[in-house]
Amino acid sequence: MNSVQSQFSEKEIELFKIYHSKFIIQMSDTINWKLLSEVEKIKYDSNYLRGTLVESLADPITGSIALADTQISKFHGIYQQSDRDLEKERKRQKLEPAYSFLIRVRIPGGVVTPKQWLQMDDLSEQYANHTLKLTTRQAFQLHGVIKKDLKKTIQGINAGLMDTIAACGDVNRNVMCHPNPAESELHAEVYETARRISEHLLPSTTAYHEIWLNQKLIADSKKDVEPIYGDRYLPRKFKITVAIPPYNDSDIFSQDLGFIAIVVNNRIVGYNVAVGGGMGSTFGMPEAYPRLADVIGFCTPGQALDVAEKVVLVQRDNGNRQNRKRSRLKYTIDDHGIDWFINELHKYLGFELQEPRPFNFTRNGDRLGWKKGTDSKWSLTLFIEGGRVADKDDFNLKSALREIAHIIDGKFILTGNQNLIIANLTADEKKNVSAILKKNGVVPGELSGLRHNSIACVALNTCGLAFAEAERYLPSLVTKIETILVQHELFKEEIVIRMTGCPNGCGRPYLAEIGFIGKSEGHYNLYLGGNFNGTRLNTLYKETLTEAEILAELSPILSDYAQNRIDGEKFGDFVIRKQYVKETLKGSDFKH
């Protein structure tokens, strides 16, 4: 025992004791699985995320993988889905659902090289549905990859020096950060912080390399250890972002853990730490609700990695493993109280966070168009509707970006709002990029302030959770709302509008000034009163509306807004002042 202990520092031993004292019963053979959610056992039995994935991939009778493997595959960045448009038809045809897989690529801070962009573009053409989805977490998604192409696709991603490890699953997900080097010269520093956190919190199992990259099984796979996660990983997903005020582009309060850069004299002196944000909720389950993160303190840049790890550990050891609907950090905090949490975190850290420093967010979302950085390099923030990179009719976005990737030397940076920044361009490159976009019909034309601030999750036809359309529908709904906006001369007014197909919140609808959550096909709940800087939850305004009803509800409010707003008053603030809805003060008050 002594020789084992000697490998660890004193601090690590202390931590192990805390961990062990909490898990002593469960670490023995007497884990009472009946009390825990089913996924807990699946994780435990998976032999560090192996499950029976190899067997599942080899099974020629089905395009799906075994049920337990659908949980394990998420940790590898892979979701099993099926084409829901064909669901009934194929059932009648005595055929299994048209299974395919979503592959999410881990891209800390959303930064890729032109070469990596080309690789993803290529893979999307070869194995996926010929499109790339840019997610709200600055990651790529490929959709429609069939089982027998999974391995080849992952290998292609690997060849592009990217991976899909922990892009989904009960672990820390893709770490986000402010995306625009031209907006902030501190971009490089926050990006580095995000990247380091992401690397540090990666699972250490070698399962991924064995299964997808054909790397040899290590002699005794039992040697795998997960020093951070343990054999059951986290109770639920975990999300981290890093922001540079005044921009709240990654909606820091929606994340489990947020770092708010505190800048003094153009230098990051440290970060305010915000914990306990989360969007997901469930219809008919008032105990599951969206919640905004609490700012609990300040840490130095050197402490950030440690803080990230220890917040994860407190959640690992205290999060609810019985009920997955209540297992995010936000509930751990609400169930124990924020003071308990801070105290616990300090124990794990071995030091106390400092008092939080003042900060101010003025807005969320992205600022579109060209911007020159202090280094004289240009960057272009390009609006990508629904984050979907595709060629459509005369709008050859995908081809244009491919062509651009061939000629530039800069970076492609995915934003947290499904948009894309083409960054670090010389003046010459800027000219060429403009020409290519124009040639392909991708002219940043006149966008309404509403469309510019729109987010839609994928929803139908591939997401298994969706009750209604989102990405395929929001653009046309926005067009209809724009007619109303034009009538009231509000076309240019920036209003945050977001739509998701279900209440799980991938598109962060609870922070929108106008939020829609799908109830059933063609029906949406309407939420109003989020604010423009992403610091307030919205409130249910009307339930289960059809499109006609949505327009009928919004029209008079927008008219009122146009006539009676106070100077500079944002739409989300107006609807609260005029009492269309009551302000939601805390997550647990939120109602569907």
Binding site: Q93, K94, G284, T544
Partner: protein, 702 residues
């Protein structure tokens, strides 16, 4: 002293049985024996017409001892005691079992009074002492069994008089979130504690065929989205609200519907099921209850009420009245000449959207026909021809279609004849010959003279080609006489009656191709694809295929090799095995073009595999990768195990396309014998022949 006979059940299908005597009592015996498929010969000096007409082989002659050769048993109905004694004596000597009509003392075996329905046979024997008593008891049992069937109990109660056990109840649940299942569990527990024989079954595990034999059902079913049933209840919902649902006058039921009031169509699935049941004549035990998301308390109350009412009701309920359910006597014999008009129950294209194949699954009703078939048999379908081809032929030949023609002594219009009675999509030698003779066309004569050329011409050409390429003005009647009468098309049946009851299923690939600038269509496959729909009537008959049958010994392993629609009879085989709960050694090889769209009956194979009725399945999809992969490649990959299976007595079946697949598979089998059995080419061929001879290698190729 009275003798005691051993009652046995014996399979006499295709066994030779001799009936001596040709009168009424012989006829009676013949009728019974025919029902069991015996091969009957009659020897008698006087044979009445009905015996002649019964289809048995009649030998009008005096009885001789040598007549007894090679029979399993004989029935003597001579009414001549002296002759009977002689026959009894001769029979014993020749080793033939003897039954002498009206003379039990001379009998080696006696016939009990029998009642047979489905898989159940009841035989009552008085050991040759009192025939009338046997018959009387048989009638009583028959009445009792029919009562059981009509009142929905498959298990007889302890005494015949207490026929109906109304304390049986099934709870069928359909759930998305598990709530319905939880309620079902609670209800089951409470009912069981009141002595009710209760079973809780998921709706996707429930066989709708059982419905008409149920007495008491409780449905607990949720609704999601805009009135959608949960996935597991979809099929049942479709069935019960569709036209296939049987009348259910003897069913008592209750529906508990779960839903969410914030949706417009609240509890729609439950409401649908309630309405459907009520329309089918079932009687509610409690009225429909609709529950919102906070259902617990109301659900508990409902359970208590239900249990109380149900328990009281069943304790006081008298035995229900007998309803007549005996229509099995409608034993008309349908045949190729006298086909049955079967209603189309369902028709669905079972190849996926992006398939370049078009395969239909068609379900036909045999209700009321008395038709029975076995797995491996074929169904004959009388189709009609593609209307566009009929039109084109009429105009090409310069007719208008109304010309009368006489076919089989019946006058019909030419159009009718071309559409329904004559073969026009395919040419054969005889038709070309006759056409040439009528027209005297020289060029055609050249083709006929040259076998190679003729074969080439026969392939892919139809009657319109003949008219276009060798035009000649014919009289309508002459033209009709040239053509061959339209033969029915035979398809391997893809269902087993033990699973689908009064239905027969077929799996048909539509034949369409383009040749010489014109779209061509197979007559019967496009008839099924384009010209019939659900509710249409299709003329069918059964064609037995004794050469393609599951092994008699259910322990015998089977290897099933099929490409495309060649998998159809295996669906029947496995349905049969599933219905009779025969698990074990079955290995299916299936080939088609693409996994995504052409994996015929994929969901069914998956379920059979999961449930253990199918042990292994290997698939070959030829177009899913660069190199073409076919079933024979999969066979070869598994050669060691295949040979082991065969060596251990497995039967191997082959069904599908004759030209390519069958040839390649046979070649591959020979190779396997050589590789794995260390056989020479000759020995391998010999081995294959032996397998065929022993009926262990059976083929159904077309």
């Amino acid at each position: 002293m009275s003798r005691i006979f051993l009652p046995i059940s014996i399979d006499i299908s295709d066994r030779k049985i001799l009936v001596i005597g040709g009168g009424q009592s012989a006829l009676k015996k013949i009728r019974i024996l025919q029902r069991f498929g015996a091969q009957i010969n009659v020897v008698a000096e006087n044979i009445i017409d009905e015996v002649h007409a019964s289809g048995v082989a009649c030998f009008q002659k005096k009885y001789e001892k040598s007549d007894l050769q090679n029979y399993l048993m004989l029935y003597s109905c001579t009414n001549n005691e002296e002759l009977d004694r002689q026959i009894a004596h001769d029979g014993k000597e020749a080793g033939v079992l003897v039954n002498i009509h009206d003379n039990p003392a001379l009998c080696q075996f006696v016939s009990p009074a029998i009642y047979q329905d489905g898989n159940i046979s009841v035989a009552v024997s008085s050991n040759a002492e009192n025939v009338n008593e046997s018959i009387h008891i048989r009638n009583q049992i028959q009445e009792y069994l029919e009562l059981l069937v009509s009142s929905g109990n498959s298990q007889p109660a302890s005494t015949p008089i207490q026929a109906k056990n109304s304390k049986q109840l099934k709870i069928l649940y359909g759930t998305h979130t598990g709530r319905s299942k939880t309620i079902a569990g609670k209800l089951a527990e409470k009912l069981a504690s009141r002595g009710v024989e209760v079973q809780s079954v998921a709706l996707d595990d429930y066989k709708t065929r059982q419905l008409s034999s149920e007495s008491n059902l409780v449905f607990i079913v949720s609704t999601h989205g805009e009135g959608e049933p949960p996935a597991m209840a979809e099929d049942f919902h479709h069935f019960i609200t569709g036209k296939r649902a049987p009348q259910l006058p003897d069913l008592n039921y209750s529906v508990l519907a779960l839903g969410d009031k914030s949706y417009k169509l609240f509890c729609k699935t439950g409401i649908d099921i309630e309405q459907a049941l009520s329309q089918l004549g079932a009687k509610p035990i409690l009225p429909l209850l609709k529950l919102d998301v906070d259902f617990e308390e109301e659900a508990d109350n409902w359970i208590d009420t239900f249990v109380k009412i149900f328990a009281e009701k069943t304790e006081s309920e008298p035995v229900i009245n007998k309803t007549s359910a005996n229509n099995s006597s409608a034993n008309k014999s349908y045949s190729r000449k006298n086909p049955f008009k079967a209603t189309v129950l369902d028709k669905v294209k079972i190849t996926g959207r992006d398939s370049d194949k078009e395969v239909y699954h068609v379900e036909l009703s045999l209700e009321g026909s008395g038709i029975s078939y076995e797995p491996g048999d074929s169904v004959g379908i009388l189709a009609n021809n593609p209307p566009s081809l009929v039109e084109n032929i009429i105009s090409q030949a310069g007719f208008n279609g109304t010309e009368p023609v006489t076919l089989k002594e019946e006058e019909i219009s030419l159009k009718e004849a071309l559409s329904d009675c004559l073969e026009i999509t395919i040419l054969n030698r005889e038709v070309i010959q006759k056409y040439q003779e009528k027209t005297g066309n020289k060029k055609l004569q050249e083709i006929i003279k040259n076998d190679g050329q003729l074969d080439k011409y026969l392939y892919g050409h139809d009657v319109l080609d003949l008219l276009e390429e060798f035009p000649f003005k014919l009289m309508a009647q002459d033209f009709a006489c040239i053509l061959r009468s339209f033969p029915p098309r035979l398809y391997s049946i893809s269902s087993s009656q033990s699973a689908v009851g009064n239905e027969v299923h077929v799996t048909v690939a539509t034949v369409r191709y383009s040749y010489k600038g014109r779209e061509r269509a197979g007559a019967c496959s496009t008839y099924l694809a384009d010209r019939i729909d659900i509710d249409s009537q299709v003329s069918v008959f059964i064609e037995k295929n004794p050469a393609f049958k599951l092994p008699e010994n259910e322990e015998t392993p089977v290897i099933l090799v099929g490409a495309g629609t060649g998998v159809a009879p295996y669906r029947a085989f496995l349905q049969h095995r599933e219905a009779s709960n025969q698990k074990g050694k079955t290995w299916l090889f299936f080939g088609e073009r693409r996994f995504h769209s052409d994996f015929l009956y994929q969901l069914e194979w998956q379920k059979l595999l999961k449930d253990g009725y199918l042990e292994k399945i290997d698939v070959a999809f030829s177009r899913d990768q660069e190199e073409k992969v076919y079933v024979q490649h999969r066979l070869l990959e598994n050669q060691k195990e295949i040979f082991e299976w065969l060596d251990n007595g497995a039967n191997i079946y082959l069904c599908g396309d004759m030209k390519q697949m069958a040839r390649d598979v046979q070649k591959t089998l020979l190779r396997i014998f050589e590789n794995e059995g260390g056989m020479s080419e000759e020995r391998a061929l010999e081995y294959l022949k032996t397998l065929k001879k022993e009926k262990r290698f059976q083929t159904d190729v077309y």
